[in-house]
């Protein structure tokens, strides 16, 4: 399938994201657009605020290491079995980045409030935690449904990313993208002001007109721009398509432990013309 004429390049998409924007990204097995991540680093984006939905790994770590972020709201940044996320850890320990600690379902709830256009969303739990104690934007109210007894419940504000950014399995010529069962990408697209998407493959036909594809499709009303990026989640996985590149991730963790190592990694894998290894 030819790439649709309306498609942009990943670098063109990155140029649409102004410094200071609030961007939302899915967790590492949810269709991460590493291609747009690399493009953001290439364009030397600054002061971005990152919302991880609800956690992240190399994507957040690279953006932090490259100095693109002023702030991060997250439930966790980790390289999983490959160890801690070196740039994240260093930046937080050095106070180089504003951290807004959350817990996974709270981030979903903040986005669901935005998705529904409701000003807040209640969530059980969290009470008595230092997460709550450090989030002046999260409030505690009495459950209005409880009668005759106290029942405190946390309420979370709607959060609307300027851009939701993810990598989808398919895109078509009509502006649709297909994420299958990755509901966090659907949520991100619905909750954000606009979505910016890279796609692995071009779908022959209209995804909205295929009964079987419809449930996993995000239509153009939510999608601002699409880029064709085969292996666009590399070195992370794209479910049903390719596994993550464990050797590469292991090497990244090692490299990112020093500023020089990180710079060399970025030079080779981000600024070099051909981004995928």
């Amino acid at each position: 399938m030819p790439v649709p004429e309306t498609y942009l390049s990943s670098d063109e998409i990155a140029s649409r994201i102004p410094d200071g924007a609030l961007i939302g990204v899915p967790k590492e097995d949810g269709g991460v657009s590493m291609e747009i991540t690399r493009a953001l680093i290439r364009r030397e984006a600054r002061d971005l605020r990152l919302l991880t939905v609800p956690v992240s790994s190399i994507q957040a770590d690279m953006l932090i290491g490259a100095g693109c972020l002023a702030e991060i709201e997250t439930s966790g940044v980790s390289m999983g079995e490959f160890g801690y996320a070196p740039s994240f850890r260093r930046a937080v320990e050095n106070g180089d980045i504003v951290i807004r600690d959350a817990t996974c379902p709270a981030i979903y709830a903040e986005l669901q409030a935005s998705e529904k256009g409701t000003p807040f969303m209640p969530l059980r739990g969290i009470l008595g935690s230092d997460i709550l104690a450090n989030r002046p934007d999260w409030k505690t109210i009495e459950n209005p449904m409880a009668e005759g007894h106290n029942d405190p419940v946390v309420v979370l504000p709607a959060i609307r990313p300027d851009f939701g950014i993810f990598h989808a399995r398919y895109g078509d010529a009509y502006g649709n993208v297909w994420v299958g069962a990755r509901r966090e990408c659907v949520l991100l697209a619905h909750a954000s002001a606009r979505a910016l998407v890279t796609v692995e493959e071009i779908w022959n036909g209209n995804l909205m007109e295929d009964d079987r594809m419809l449930a996993g499709t995000v239509p153009p009303i939510y999608v601002d721009a699409v880029a064709y990026a085969p292996r666009g989640a590399w070195p992370l996985s794209l479910p049903g398509c390719y596994e993550r590149d464990s050797e590469h991730l292991k090497a990244y963790v090692l490299a990112a432990k020093s500023a020089d190592g990180f710079a060399a990694y970025i030079d080779r894998h981000v600024f070099a013309k051909k981004a995928s290894g």
């Binding site: 956690v55 439930s75 801690y84 979903y108 008595g128 935690s129 405190p152 419940v153």
Partner: protein, 243 residues
């Protein structure tokens, strides 16, 4: 019957999961995963294991929020959590050691703990490193508290704590851990020396009971194969899987 340390722990965890219908297991958790699959295999369809990262042993399909939604509904009976620090009241810290927000050591973050610790009735804490650095008197940051005042809606909380030396059970009334059994090679003195919090200890503390032989056979046959889908290396080196 000879058995490995992993097999011993799988059986110990499986006992803790007795009667659970929905057991969810997060990332990097081969022992809890194996225990959950064992309970599922023994339950004749009554128990379901949800292994994060598995394509087969995963009863969910609706994306990230689903596990939390099901836990909120009371449809998740058991879950596993770790902690960079854990204290004697069961408070867990997955965020950082030292002053917040600019700490001495930053950990990854709280993940789902701030919610699941409240909503899942049996949360089993798993933390290999048994040291005073980890098991502290008071955590530096509460990702999730071990207990809550009576007006807080809280069906969930800590159930047990498993370390490289021993197993503690959590006493919900007293908000304290009680030593339940020692792992092979560990002594009570060693546990005391390496634990920064005060805990209860019965006079007759003994070893963690050995695996039930029929369960051991099941682990080495069916469970080794099932867990290998998600943790092939673990299954090969620890459970003798030849798949």
């Amino acid at each position: 019957m000879e058995y490995s340390r992993e097999e011993l722990l799988i059986c110990a965890v499986a006992r803790m999961l007795d009667g659970c219908r929905n057991i969810a297991v997060g990332t990097a958790s081969p022992i809890p995963g194996s225990a959950a699959l064992l309970v599922q295999a023994l339950s004749d369809g009554a128990a379901r294991a949800s292994i994060l990262g598995s394509n087969i042993h995963n009863p969910f399909n609706d994306g990230g929020p689903e596990l939390f939604d099901r836990a909120g509904q009371g449809r998740v009976d058991a879950f596993f959590l770790g902690g960079g620090q854990i204290d004697g009241e069961g408070n867990i810290n997955l965020v950082s050691a030292g002053p917040y927000p600019q700490p001495d050591t930053r950990f990854p973050g709280s993940f789902g703990s701030g919610y699941l610790y409240f909503s899942v009735p049996r949360v089993i804490l798993f933390r290999e490193e048994h040291s005073r650095r980890v098991f502290v008197d008071k955590v530096d940051f509460i990702s999730a508290p071990g207990w809550s005042p009576p007006d807080v809606h809280r069906p969930g909380g800590p159930y047990a704590l498993i370390t490289s030396l021993c197993i503690f059970m959590y006493d919900k009334e007293r908000h304290r851990f009680r030593l339940d059994g020692l792992l092979p090679g560990a002594t009570l003195e060693e546990v005391r020396d390496n634990t920064g919090f005060d805990f209860d200890c019965p006079n007759d503390i003994g070893p963690v009971p050995p695996p039930e032989p029929e369960r051991l056979i099941l682990i080495r046959s069916r469970i080794a194969g099932e867990i290998a889908e998600t943790y092939p290396e673990f299954s090969r080196t620890r459970l003798g899987w030849h798949g």
